[in-house]
């Protein structure tokens, strides 16, 4: 890392591009998600606005922008306004070490994955602050669930990523991609299928997506921690949820699916294809599985994912030791 004006300008430009990517991603993913939901539930999905409903997401964004900011009575106003901002702020930092292409990384960080895991924790704090500050029982229950869930699912997630770090011997994301080959059977998913599975399940848990969307379970808690948010407050939560989904998909593509390397023509397009494939699987999962109960959610984590990830780590370490 060079501390020069050039790298500074480079980071600014990259951050602007990342913001563009996040907003564009939210618009595209909303459309894909609603169309997929329609297809799975045998209904048309959005079809009124624009050809095949393509402009629907933009209209929704316009509606959110124009909505009045409604502040319920007796809220802790400082925390109430801080929470959505805090949900969105760390997302920019999270994208810094992602290698989109071989040289297309905002900032080469040697402990890249640690940076991502560290700042991802701030998202939980924003959720619990939102639930707490809105002075609403649904919000508070959602916050309590968010805490228990994210603390639980963080552990198998880190353990699964650690198994890949064992294989590579580096925490740098570019080094992890460079170690994997070009063909699918040379990717880490072939060496670490269990870790990939564990990571994928805990990724759904970490991003609060159905079937693990207990913090906002709309059939029981109205909207959970963001019940009291309307207009831009809700939009920021929504945007950060999709940005987090994009981030974990990129990390999944980097760690398990060979990142920017593909059978032909290595480049950033492979990263994007893989990340969006992961996103589509997440969407598919959401509309296929029913929501689990909260005790089931915690049991899946503590009784299955955690022991499995420890076992996986153990076996990986022993095999590496014997091969060396």
């Amino acid at each position: 890392m060079e501390l020069s004006l050039l790298s500074f300008v480079q980071i600014i430009i990259a951050c602007l591009l990342i913001i563009g990517l996040m907003v564009g991603n939210a618009v595209i993913m909303v459309y894909i998600e609603r169309k997929a939901a329609g297809f799975i539930q045998r209904r048309p999905g959005p079809y009124e606005v624009g050809p095949r409903g393509t402009i629907q997401a933009i209209c929704d964004a316009m509606k959110l922008l124009g909505k009045q900011l409604f502040i319920p009575g007796n809220v802790d106003w400082a925390l109430y306004f801080l929470a959505p901002v805090l949900a969105f702020l760390p997302v920019l930092v999270l994208f810094l070490p992602i290698p989109f292409g071989k040289y297309l990384t905002t900032l080469q960080v040697d402990d890249g994955i640690l940076l991502i895991l560290a700042f991802a924790g701030l998202g939980v704090i924003s959720n619990i602050l939102a639930g707490w500050a809105s002075n609403n029982k649904y919000g508070l229950l959602g916050a309590a669930r968010a805490v228990a869930q994210s603390v639980a699912y963080e552990i198998p997630m880190i353990m699964a990523l650690l198994a890949v770090v064992f294989l590579t011997g580096s925490l740098n994301l570019t080094a992890i991609v460079e170690r994997q080959g070009t063909w699918p059977w040379e990717w880490n998913i072939a060496y670490q299928p269990l870790a990939c599975f564990i990571y994928f399940v805990s990724l759904v848990g970490e991003t609060n997506r159905a079937p693990f969307d207990l913090p906002e379970a709309e059939s029981e808690l109205t909207a959970g921690f963001h019940t009291e948010y309307s207009g831009m407050g809700f939009a920021l939560f929504f945007l950060s949820e999709y940005a987090n989904m994009l981030l974990v998909s990129f990390v999944c593509a980097t760690f398990f699916l060979g990142g920017y390397r593909g059978p032909i023509l290595d480049g950033f397009w492979w990263t994007f294809i893989k990340a969006y494939a992961v996103m589509c699987v997440i969407v598919w999962l959401r509309w296929t599985f029913p929501r689990v109960r909260f005790d089931q959610l915690l049991n899946i984590n503590w009784k299955w994912l955690l022991p499995l990830s420890i076992l996986n780590l153990w076996v990986t370490a022993i095999i590496i030791k014997f091969i060396d």
Partner: protein
């Protein structure tokens, strides 16, 4: 054409840099031989830490106090970055902000939160005096020492963090303290489980 572009870039750079250079010369007059950028970064982090500490003790509400704690932890992580140990900085955020603070929040929610606890009242005269001494004594002892030997601050290009070296150190030279900490954590965890354990009543002795 290239010359024109060069000239434009030079002008732009001069435009961005000139206020900074003015600030730099101003500070350099007061503190000779210091890296200005490092000083500014240090000042920002220290201000974040102090603001967090103030928020933590001054809020009348436990959740706001916890937010102050989060701010302080972030500032300390910044100081680790300034010390050229990004590994420790990220670990600080991952463990203290991501886990410890979240668990503290959980503890706050498990207790009755009626805003009538100790923290909602102003402290009495006695605790104010104790607090004053707790603030002044370390300041009086450490402050002059720090002022006498101002360490040289500089922004380093940290290059490779040797995680491998860190791990080797933990299982060779410092293995004793490492194992001791593990045992303390294990004992704390087992103790918590033991205290919280309540045998589930069997159906025939269940309360009526």
């Amino acid at each position: 054409m290239d010359q024109v572009i060069d000239k434009i870039i030079d002008t732009l750079l001069a435009y961005i840099w000139s206020p900074l250079i003015a600030l730099e010369t101003m500070i350099a007059d007061y503190l000779p031989g210091q890296d200005i950028a490092a000083l500014i970064a240090y000042a920002v982090y220290v201000l974040i830490i102090l603001a967090g500490g103030f928020l933590a003790i001054a809020s009348r509400n436990l959740v706001r106090a916890m937010l102050g704690l989060v701010l302080t932890f972030l500032g300390v992580a910044g100081l680790y970055l300034l010390l050229a140990c990004p590994f420790l900085a990220f670990m600080q955020i991952l463990i203290y902000v991501g886990a410890v603070c979240v668990l503290i929040f959980f503890a706050i929610m498990l207790t009755r939160n009626t805003n009538e606890g100790e923290e909602s009242k102003l402290p009495g005269i006695g605790s104010a005096i104790y607090g004053f001494f707790a603030f002044v004594l370390p300041l009086g002892i450490l402050g002059p020492l720090i002022i006498i030997n101002v360490p040289k601050l500089e922004l380093k290009d940290y290059g490779q963090t040797d995680t491998k070296l860190l791990g080797e150190g933990l299982i060779t030279n410092d293995v004793f303290s490492f194992e001791l900490i593990s045992i303390i954590l294990l004992v704390a965890m087992a103790g918590a489980v033991f205290l919280a354990w309540r045998r589930r009543p069997t159906p025939d002795e269940a309360p009526k």
